[in-house]
């Protein structure tokens, strides 16, 4: 049996965000004998979970029920959610959030000291737990600090994973670059969990941080694991123009209004209910994100948005909430507006426009986080179980990280406990990979003066034009061709930086190749889904078509050209497909 010395673990987790850290703790608690590696391209507390603002959903109050949470999630997802997964999700959600409370998460409280909950878009009841409007920040730091007390968890901070080690049909680790030294090495493991987050960075205007480049999706995809439901890209209705910084849905949940250029609450014109001064669940500003972002586009077409230097926008008005509530419940909104827009939301309206926010799709997994590749698991935004269907409800994602992070951790721990031997080929695979990187990016063939930045810029344009809120066959096809061209051009780029020390240009090049692969999967899945469902709106196919498309798209990588798309049925348990009704 080949051994890999210190670089050998039982369970290896790629990613130190919410999903990765929850998975790591779950492994440690499932079997304390196992050695656990958390490999992350940034220090865990820098992961993008840190930026989540509004909250995390779980039924906790007496007037609420699991069935309500499940129904909201399923109708919010336009019936593309797997209902067995949703049922497990809503049931395990409260336990996970309580566990986090016991680890010290500073959840906001009621006067009597119990957990406070707030309303959120598309939810029937108040069930979103929050830590002011820095929920992700507190969740991530609490978990990161908690992991420090588990000795079996060994961190590989600032290691950039470049591929999976797969031999004999089984995933047995990863190849990674230690950024500080440039050393490329194999890290072997009996099971691997991908917790690498989303890929908002394939778009130019996004709430996602620089690290959200979909690496894990690309690695799994290249090993033949299908990417599921990739056409479903969430646009959040309220981002700050220019920066794309998110203004949380909690601002509307607390009572904020969306106003067009005439100061009119235009959502009433889009079948989202009647305007009332107080927020009403599943109505108006508390409708689901897909419908709100689509309403913005229509409003723009009618010329009722405001023109600005960074695209048209509308106003989010929270002045009537008053300074006290804003400071207590939305302090980060105020801080961000003051800092980045020079606007005080206590006395001014906030300019906002839809912004790419979240990927409903991802690595196909079952309800335990297992993929079709033995030994490979996935959880968090990078995975698609699917509880989010065609449109995720706000505040379900943080909970998903915990519920399915824990499930994947347990499953991967059990798999690793079987102690299957490693293949002897791993070292050779790692050597090949190191050669590929050297040859691919460091060679001085120099004939191509192109920069990473210019290819990335063209990718942005192709994605924004082709895969926006409304999509046409024509624009999708053109974007597909463009992406293919860019993939070829990237093969011939040689980067300027040939150093082994903290080479961020090399990382950017590798990330770009991942983003291009994912882009092709998104576009092809979107092209073939000739219906409109949730966040996926096709201009010539405005209706939902359950007869043909009550199914998950599964994108399989091809040797050349766009991926092959297959379909997998949606699991329906108790909620047969129905009409999505909001505002009534």
């Amino acid at each position: 049996m080949a051994r890999y010395g210190p670089n050998e673990h039982d369970v290896l987790i790629v990613g130190g965000g919410g999903a990765g850290l929850r998975a790591a703790i779950a492994v440690a608690e499932t079997n304390p004998e196992l050695s656990i590696a958390v490999v992350s391209k940034v220090y865990p507390m820098r992961s993008h979970t840190v930026s989540a603002e509004g909250g995390s959903a779980a039924v906790i109050k007496d007037n609420d029920s699991f069935d309500d949470h499940a129904y909201d999630t399923i109708s919010g997802g336009d019936w593309l959610c797997d209902q067995d997964a949703v049922e497990a999700f809503v049931k395990e959600a409260p336990k996970e959030l309580l566990q986090l409370e016991h680890w010290g998460c500073p959840w906001s409280r009621e006067e009597d000291g119990s957990i406070a909950v707030r309303s959120f878009g598309g939810m029937t009841n108040k069930r979103t737990w929050f830590a002011a409007d820095k929920t992700g920040f507190h969740l991530l730091h609490t978990m990161f600090q908690t992991t420090m007390k588990y000795d079996p968890i060994q961190r590989y901070d600032e290691y950039y994973v470049t591929r999976l080690l797969v031999d004999n049909g089984r995933c047995q680790g990863v190849v990674a670059i230690e950024l500080a030294t440039g050393k490329i090495e194999a890290i072997a493991a009996r099971s691997v969990i991908m917790c690498t987050g989303g890929c908002g960075r394939i778009f130019p205007f996004t709430t996602n941080g620089n690290i959200k480049t979909g690496d894990g999706m690309a690695f799994a995809y290249r090993e033949g694991v299908p990417l599921k439901d990739m056409e479903f890209v969430q646009y959040h209705p309220t981002g700050l123009p220019f920066t794309g910084i998110l203004i949380t849905e909690a601002a509307r949940a607390e009572g904020g209004h969306l106003l067009n250029k005439d100061g009119y609450r235009y959502l009433q014109d889009y079948d989202l209910g009647e305007p009332k001064p107080e927020p009403i669940h599943r109505s108006m500003e508390l409708g689901p994100r897909d419908r709100l972002s689509q309403a913005f586009e229509k409003e723009e077409e009618k010329g009722r948005t405001i023109e600005g230097p960074y695209g048209s926008y509308i106003h989010l008005d929270i002045q009537h909430l008053g300074e006290e509530i804003i400071d207590r419940k939305l302090p980060f909104v105020r801080e961000l507006c003051l800092k980045y827009e020079n606007i005080d939301p206590v006395k001014e309206m906030i300019p906002v426009r839809p912004v790419v926010h979240y990927m409903m799709g991802g690595i196909d997994t079952d309800i335990h986080g297992a993929t079709k590749l033995d030994g490979l698991y996935a959880a968090g935004e990078t995975a698609c179980v699917s509880i989010n269907g065609a449109n995720r409800l706000g505040s379900n994602s943080l909970t998903e990280l915990l519920v399915f992070g824990a499930r994947a951790g347990q499953a991967a721990a059990e798999f690793a406990s079987e102690q299957k031997p490693f293949s002897s080929a791993l070292e050779a695979l790692a050597t090949d990979e190191s050669r590929r990187i050297e040859k691919g990016f460091f060679s001085e063939n120099g004939s191509n003066p192109e920069s990473i930045a210019s290819i990335r810029q063209e990718m942005y344009q192709a994605m924004e034009k082709g895969v926006g809120i409304y999509r046409s066959e024509d624009s999708l096809e053109r974007s597909q061709e463009k992406i293919q061209e860019l993939q070829e051009r990237l093969m011939n780029v040689s980067i300027e930086d040939h150093s082994y020390t903290f080479n961020t240009e090399l990382v950017a090049a590798l990330e770009l190749s991942n983003m291009l692969d994912i882009s092709e999967a998104i576009i092809q899945s979107a092209l073939q889904r000739t219906e409109s469902r949730g966040s996926h709106q096709r201009v010539n196919y405005p209706d939902r078509d359950d007869e043909h498309f009550l199914a998950h798209s599964m994108a399989y990588k091809s040797e050349v050209g766009p991926p092959k798309i297959e379909y997998q049925p949606v699991t329906i348990t108790r909620w047969p497909p129905g009409e999505r009704v909001y505002g009534h």
Partner: protein, 247 residues
């Protein structure tokens, strides 16, 4: 023609350079651009070899701290227009070892966080089905401020003691200890005292106060240290006078 501004950026590549040096770059002076946008402009358009860390661009991930005109700041929260007329000097955080260009070695800082046992310590484990610990808004307010630290390390780059005394656990780590010490759910203060009342603990602090000045999240680590000293002295006194008293 667009107006420009000059950045003088500290460069250092260990394979090549014996000493760090400054390199000048001209970048467009755009409204709404932060220093980080200017660095990204350089990396994308002028010099792909410049290395630095960043991610969120919204002041919450804590990656992008650097010295800008000799002050430790988050480069994603410092506007070019605040630094007029230029040139703007951008250097890695003071007192840290430089790995390359603007990237510093943070291993020591990470170890310090762990030293203060930053997790909830309780005598007994409360089973999850028993529900939440009750904590009123007033109780939460006791530690709220200390829980806002984004680990950006600006306070370490401002603290002369941390600079001279590598063992000093430093401002953010002490604030983090206090974040748990003042949490009504926690019972770990005694364990943390072992680390914090000893060598390299709170008594190394000479009350310079710069840490709170530069903190972008109003954590007030200086206040946290002061508060510790007051309570820490009391505990020390108690253990000397009545050694059996503190059970």
């Amino acid at each position: 023609m667009e107006t420009t501004i000059t950045l003088e950026v500290q460069r250092y590549l260990p394979e090549k350079d014996t000493e760090p040096y400054f390199q000048e770059y001209k970048v467009p002076l755009r409204k709404k651009w932060v220093v980080l946008d200017a660095l990204n402009y350089i990396k994308d358009n002028i010099d792909g070899t410049l290395s630095y860390r960043w991610s969120c661009r919204m002041g919450v991930c804590g990656s992008c701290g650097m010295m800008v005109n000799d002050k430790p700041v988050l480069t994603c929260a410092t506007f070019l227009e605040e630094c007029l007329p230029g040139p703007i000097r951008v250097a890695p955080l003071s007192y840290f070892d430089v790995i390359r260009d603007l990237v510093v070695n943070t291993d020591g800082f990470m170890d310090k966080l762990k030293r203060v046992k930053p997790w909830l310590i309780t005598d007994q484990v409360k089973p999850v089905p028993e529900g939440e610990y009750r904590q009123t808004p007033e109780q939460k307010a006791e530690y709220d401020q200390y829980s806002m630290c984004i680990n950006c390390m600006l306070c370490y780059a401002a603290c002369p003691v941390a600079g001279l005394e590598p063992e000093f656990v430093g401002p953010a780590a002490i604030a983090l200890a206090q974040r748990y010490n003042y949490d009504s759910r926690d019972e770990g203060r005694k364990q943390r005292n072992e680390e914090l009342l000893g060598e390299g603990g709170i008594y190394s602090c000479t009350l310079v106060g710069e840490c709170s000045e530069v903190c972008p999240k109003a954590v007030d680590p200086a206040g946290a240290i002061q508060r510790y000293k007051v309570s820490g002295a009391a505990e020390w006194w108690k253990s000397v006078v009545v050694p059996w008293g503190d059970t």
